[in-house]
């Protein structure tokens, strides 16, 4: 198995005037193998999203290295960074907000294809196919984000993310805003896509039961550090740290 993503000693310190520096992520290292579903759990403020924002280069690192497919992407910019996004795409928590409210879903999905050189007509046809792949009718391409439900919009967001055939999909609380029955459908879709396209997932989530159901391996974050790592069953049945034990005991 090959390593798709490797984070080495990632640290993020937020500096603001008149305040003490705040280290949100403190020396975090981990890797994701090809075809793996890696979960990161932790409570609010534990640094999960900061880790993701650094990996996706939405936030600069304070120190540390990010490697995607063996290539150092920590400091990539502009055109080089654009190449990186061919391999790595994201799905966010609130689908409706991650689409431009004044453009149709189809435009949003086709945008990445057009950016990478596909003709507009061709891209729009592909967008319809992608929607169908994600369980929506291709007519949804002509709808605006506010005209569809949260679950449908999240399907469109997944269609957009897989449009340029990335290897790695980063899902930051991608199912947390959805009803449980819809959540189940989305996870089934992700599993289907994984088998069909050999995808790798980095799945950020605060719902421990969900991570146990979906992921192959899990990292537990607390106060910016990884405090535990293992298969979900291992971590949940035999937590090694006091914090993880408390976290798991709190699940109702």
């Amino acid at each position: 198995m090959s390593v798709v993503l490797a984070a080495e000693h990632l640290t993020k310190t937020f500096v603001s005037q008149g305040r003490e520096n705040y280290t949100a992520v403190d020396d975090v290292s981990f890797s994701v193998e090809s075809g793996e579903k890696l979960g990161i759990i932790g409570e609010s403020g534990s640094g999960k999203t900061t880790v993701v924002n650094m990996i996706t280069r939405l936030l600069d690192v304070s120190s540390g290295t990010i490697r995607l497919d063996g290539e150092d992407i920590t400091l990539k910019k502009g055109k080089e960074l654009k190449e990186v996004y061919k391999k790595m795409q994201m799905v966010f928590q609130t689908p409706t907000e991650s689409f431009d409210p004044r453009r149709k879903l189809g435009d949003g999905i086709a945008e990445s294809l057009i950016n990478y050189g596909m003709k507009k007509k061709e891209a729009m046809v592909k967008a319809g196919q992608l929607l169908e792949l994600c369980g929506l009718e291709k007519e949804y391409a002509a709808r605006y984000p506010h005209e569809v439900s949260g679950g449908q919009c999240q399907r469109a967001a997944i269609a957009r993310a897989i449009a340029i055939d990335p290897r790695l999909l980063i899902l930051d609380e991608a199912t947390s805003a959805l009803d449980v029955t819809i959540q189940k459908e989305i996870l089934e879709l992700l599993d289907k896509l994984k088998t069909e396209r050999n995808m790798t997932y980095l799945f950020i989530c605060h719902d421990i039961a969900l991570v146990q159901q979906f992921c192959d391996r899990v990292l537990v974050m607390h106060q910016g550090k990884i405090v535990e790592e293992g298969t979900p069953d291992e971590v949940i049945r035999n937590p090694k740290t006091e914090y993880t034990r408390r976290l798991i005991e709190s699940v109702l």
């Binding site: 609010s44 449980v180 819809i182 189940k184 605060h206 039961a209 146990q212 976290l247 709190s250 699940v251």
Partner: protein, 259 residues
């Protein structure tokens, strides 16, 4: 057991569109009723109707909500205002944002009290501190001195519950009280609401989409789907032996932790 509140064949509409249809249930003294449903099922609308919070677009079009011989939807705003707080308490999903951001917790709790009865500042201070202590706050004075945004999300929620209990209402309506919280804090808030029932004998109507919270708290559960009751009964029975197709589908979709 005495019945505290009773919904009889309630229909509720928003802008002429019916969102709740023919809902009947009753809550007894000290009972916790959980109302479960997905987004858009009308669960929040049900408790808003009792509190007179439907806004100008919402209307109870049929049926009655009985409380102490009064039909709540028929009350005049002035009569309703008397009941809100003293008889019917309410907790929202983000209690923090239902506080005023530029005034201290003390000033706001004092205002809640004086709206309904005359009370001297020092008597209030003692009462408030005593109540916050019951809720497990180590330093009640510091909480009272704080502005809402100085408290963590969990603290805000706990202060919100304490604030609702200040006037000792007979019923507490809780709209997703734990949904914005981390699991460890959620557990604490659940325990506190159970403590409220134990200490004050308050009835609680708990609206949530979280089955775990319902299982941990509710005596009875009402499953709502597209404004209609799918199932209504003792929590354990409904969870162990669901009868309606929808309930089965809903319960199957909830991820369960395998320990």
């Amino acid at each position: 057991m005495t019945e505290v509140i009773r919904y009889e064949h309630v229909d509720i509409s928003y802008k002429g569109k019916r969102v709740v249809h023919d809902v009947s249930f009753s809550v007894e003294k000290g009972e916790i009723l959980g109302i479960v449903g997905e987004s858009g099922s009308g669960k929040s609308t049900l408790i808003k109707a009792a509190m007179g919070l439907l806004g100008k677009d919402g209307l109870v079009t049929r049926g009655d909500i009985w409380y102490k011989g009064m039909d709540l939807p028929d009350l005049k705003p002035r009569e309703m205002r008397k009941l809100c707080g003293t008889e019917l308490g309410m907790i929202f999903q983000t209690a923090g944002s239902s506080f005023c951001p530029i005034r201290t917790v003390r000033a706001q709790l004092y205002e809640f009290m004086t709206e309904h009865k005359k009370i001297k500042a020092d008597v209030f201070e003692n009462q408030a501190e005593e109540l916050l202590e019951k809720f497990g706050f180590e330093d009640p004075k510091r909480v009272l001195d704080s502005y809402p945004f100085e408290l963590s999300g969990g603290m805000q929620q706990r202060v919100g519950i304490a604030a609702a209990m200040l006037l000792n209402p007979k019923i507490l309506m809780a709209d997703e009280p734990t949904s914005a919280l981390d699991v460890t804090v959620q557990k604490q808030v659940v325990e506190e609401m159970l403590m409220v029932r134990e200490t004050f004998g308050t009835s609680i109507v708990l609206v949530t989409h979280n089955m775990g919270v319902i299982r941990a708290m509710a005596d009875k559960v009402l499953i709502l789907h597209e404004g209609e009751i799918m199932e209504y009964g003792v929590t354990e029975e409904v969870f162990e032996h669901p009868e309606s197709v929808y309930t089965k589908k809903l319960l199957a979709a909830v991820p369960k932790l395998r320990r």
